[in-house]
């Protein structure tokens, strides 16, 4: 088995908002930094974030401050957040947005020339900084420009498949160069995981095509602890039609700017559910309200609700929601004149790699940041906190990974484990009989969408767990690629991804089944009313290779749950 070995000090896996920010920070320490990316540089899902970046600058509401941002984040997260992490988020968010400005990012302005801020759900003040409704794209473009200036070596279209651990510490990773089909080992003193979420394990999702949970799968297999995996955010407003655009995000900014939700009877139904905050209730709350309307027969013709901004001044819509106009134009709807049809779509993973205040995981040398981590957002993430998360924890993980790299040496690589990994990948290409990744994926995403969704119940989740265990045992070893070519072989990529999808889906389903009450995004129709649910579920791979789930106490610094 031939492979190439590439050495560096700090390795960053993933090149979205968090990965780029981590690499930029690590490179400041005069170290050899490599960032690898599954897609071309700049094409990561961060670019799809629309609404904004939460930061308590107080530019429009002077009374805002980090304390209030913290409180909103914890209350919004249903008290499940790791409060140390949430404190870091609100503390560093201002400096990190100044960093972005220093790198050239262009945010919208107030009349006095300060960064403008708009209202988002469940926040006490207008706090969300934005660049029209393409904030993530602005940040992504800026970070790729800044990366080009640094000494960071970018390996794009390189797919990490396995973390290599030596004596319980991180030693490197196995990867495949998608361009040429070469097997690669990256050896590093420290590794930052910034691999994003896994919306793609659901049939209907706002996520980019490649967000399949690679990081969750790899980290779990390497013995990394995962937290809050049952907490999947369904964004209340995804596109309903056309079929090909189903699930595409309709930004919360539409409601932030004054958009209202109506049912088929023309009723503004949010007044029956959350009369105080109406459309700006928490994402989990709005998603359930829309689904209740649909299930009770008051949905739109294509199974959603109506979202209307036709009453707003056209000038505002055209300036602040320009991508939305464009996005619905393709669907034949002029949102300035007629309502959009929307329904919930799998959007964000609150859970993920468990990190501490140094962004380090339980594996020495392995750090993590961005959506692939858990703890910052608890049971429900506030709109606008994810972009802030990528910058705050991206920078933090880059810094701590650099420090670790300075204090530690390269470890030897477990060659047998690496070769075994490459043989596993090679076998997918050589296998004659088996299941194609496209079919396997369709089965998995349909299962998750129907059984582990917004309204959950015991028997559904139990069935999902049973099915996923079967898929893991029977389908995963049988994944085959029809064309045995290594260069740019999409079937092969999807086969590698599928394995990570199954592990991720299983963690979501197993944790969801364990949580008997309602909390945050986890909502059961058969909930145990006596369970307050003030705990986190932590998952790790046990010594016997089985998935272990344990309940752990919340990490509280300032706010005790009611």
């Amino acid at each position: 088995m031939e492979y190439k070995t590439i050495m560096c000090d700090v390795l960053v896996v993933g090149a979205g908002g968090a990965g780029c920010r981590a690499a930029i920070e690590a490179a400041k320490h005069n170290l050899d930094v490599i960032m690898i990316s599954k897609e071309l540089l700049g094409k990561a899902h961060t670019a799809m974030a629309e609404g904004g970046y939460n930061v308590s600058l107080g530019n429009v509401d002077p009374d805002d401050n980090p304390e209030t941002h913290f409180k909103d984040t914890i209350v919004g997260g249903n008290y499940l957040n790791n409060q140390h992490l949430a404190e870091i988020l609100v503390r560093d968010a201002p400096q990190r947005i100044f960093d972005l400005e220093d790198m050239g990012a262009v945010f919208d302005r107030t009349p006095e020339g300060k960064i403008a801020q708009r209202p988002f759900g469940k926040q006490s003040w207008r706090r969300t900084a934005y660049a029209s409704d393409r904030t993530g794209s602005e940040i992504m473009v800026t970070l790729t420009e800044a990366i080009r200036k640094t000494s960071v070596r970018v390996f794009d279209e390189v797919f990490a498949t396995k973390l290599l651990v030596t004596d319980g510490k991180i030693a490197g990773i196995c990867a495949v160069d998608l361009k040429y089909g070469d097997y690669l080992i990256f050896r590093a003193k420290s590794v930052v995981m910034a691999t994003g979420g896994a919306g793609r394990i659901y049939k209907v999702t706002s996520n980019a095509q490649l967000d399949v949970g690679d990081g969750y799968g790899m980290a779990y297999e390497a013995g990394c602890e995962m937290i809050d995996m049952e907490m999947v955010q369904f964004h209340p407003t995804g596109m309903v039609k056309p079929e090909s655009a189903k699930g595409r995000l309709v930004t919360e900014a539409v409601r932030g700017e004054g958009g209202i939700l109506l049912n088929s009877e023309g009723e503004r139904f949010m007044k029956r559910y959350y009369p105080d905050v109406m459309e700006l209730a928490g994402r989990d709350q709005v998603a359930r309200s829309i689904m209740t309307e649909v299930l009770e027969g008051r949905g739109s013709p294509d199974g959603g609700a109506y979202l209307s901004i036709a009453h707003l001044p056209k000038r505002i819509v055209e300036f602040r929601l320009e991508s939305m106009i464009e996005q619905f134009e393709d669907a034949g709807v002029d949102i300035r004149e007629e309502p959009m049809q929307v329904s919930p779509t799998a959007h964000h993973f609150m859970g993920g790699l468990k990190i501490d205040e140094n962004a380090s995981t339980n594996i020495p040398g392995l750090f993590a940041s961005g959506e692939c981590t858990g703890g910052v957002h608890g049971g429900n993430r506030l709109g606008g906190n994810a972009l802030a998360d990528t910058q705050v924890f991206g920078a933090l993980s880059g810094e701590t990974a650099a420090k670790y790299a300075k204090e530690n040496r390269h470890l030897g690589i477990d060659r047998d484990a690496a070769i075994k990994e490459f043989e596993r990948l090679e076998a997918m290409l050589q296998r004659k009989d088996g299941v194609s990744p496209a079919d396997a994926r369709d089965e998995l995403t349909a299962l998750m969408w129907s059984k582990v969704q917004i309204f959950r119940k015991e028997e559904d989740m139990a069935e999902a767990v049973k099915e996923l265990r079967r898929i893991e045992k029977e389908v995963v070893p049988q994944i085959k690629v029809d064309v045995p070519v290594k260069r740019f072989n999409p079937g092969w990529h999807q086969a590698m991804e599928f394995v990570h999808m199954v592990t991720t889906a299983r963690m979501v389903a197993e944790a969801a089944l364990m949580r008997k009450g309602n909390r945050g995004a986890h909502y059961r129709v058969d909930a145990d009313p006596d369970e307050t649910g003030y705990y986190n579920i932590v998952i790790r791979k046990g010594k016997d290779g089985e998935m272990e789930l344990t309940k752990e106490d919340l990490v509280i610094t300032k706010i005790t749950p009611p």
Binding site: V141, E145, K149, Q209, L249
Partner: protein, 248 residues
């Protein structure tokens, strides 16, 4: 709907075209059609994609001889006599030379984006395009601050369209000058130069203008404006290049 798709196993040149019959559903894009082909008919077909929503700019390709994003091109808009299909692009060989047997009235022709080396099927090597950004040093020379910088809404508005660029390279692939001169830095990089030059916060704007006026830059542009016509984000690079040419 019939598709004729350029194939190349080893890159460099298109070796042949394969035909597929795609089952059309309402609202399908060319990218959806490519997924259907990959999933149901031919798993060997290679193309790039990521966001599906015209934000990441991964799926730039030549569709019915017009450079466009596959995810932003609705099948229902193809084969119609309208603005989207009649862009009046200044021709160069890749935009005109049709494969034998292609029937333009009922067959969708999908080919790799021109002006960049072909790696496989619809995947091109983007290095040359990205290198233009490095050559012009298109980044801010950071002055570390702990305060944000004021920028009036009017100053912000000056660069409003230019910051919408998603680096999809459609302009580069549509430019007749890029087609004949590999050294030409191309529309996207030059437009970005103007974006930095005209940004009120840039500490040293003149370097961006000077470099953009260099011999591989704006002087080579003949203001043909194919770039303006194909840009999916309304960036209008040609307008920025005109300003570079006129600026002192």
């Amino acid at each position: 709907m019939l598709f004729r798709i350029a194939r190349s196993k080893d890159g460099e040149t298109i070796s042949h075209y394969d035909q597929y019959k795609v089952e059309v559903k309402e609202g399908m894009t060319v990218l959806d059609a490519l997924f259907q082909i990959q999933d149901k008919m031919d798993p060997s077909l290679s193309f790039r994609y990521s966001c599906r929503g015209a934000v990441c700019g991964s799926c730039a390709m030549l569709i019915d001889k017009i450079p466009r994003l596959a995810c932003k091109t609705q099948l229902s808009t193809l084969k119609r006599d309208d603005k989207k299909n009649e862009m009046n692009l200044e021709p160069f060989p890749a935009l005109v030379e049709a494969p034998n047997g292609w029937s333009p009235s009922d067959e969708v022709l999908v080919e790799p984006l021109p002006n960049l080396p072909l790696l496989k099927d619809l995947v091109v090597d983007m290095c040359r395009f990205y290198e233009t950004l490095e050559k012009l040093k298109l980044w801010i020379d950071i002055e570390k601050g702990t305060e944000y910088r004021n920028q009036s809404p009017e100053e912000r508005k000056r660069i409003d369209r230019l910051v919408n660029c998603i680096m999809c390279a459609l302009c580069y692939g549509s430019c007749p000058i890029n087609a004949e001169n590999e050294d030409y830095l191309g529309p996207a990089a030059l437009a970005k130069s103007w974006r930095f030059f005209d940004d009120s916060r840039t500490p040293n704007p003149d370097r961006f203008l000077k470099d953009a006026k260099g011999e591989s830059g704006a002087p080579l542009c003949e203001l043909i404006m194919n770039c303006v016509r194909v840009c999916p984000k309304g960036v209008a690079p040609g307008g920025a290049i005109r300003k570079i040419k006129e600026a002192e």
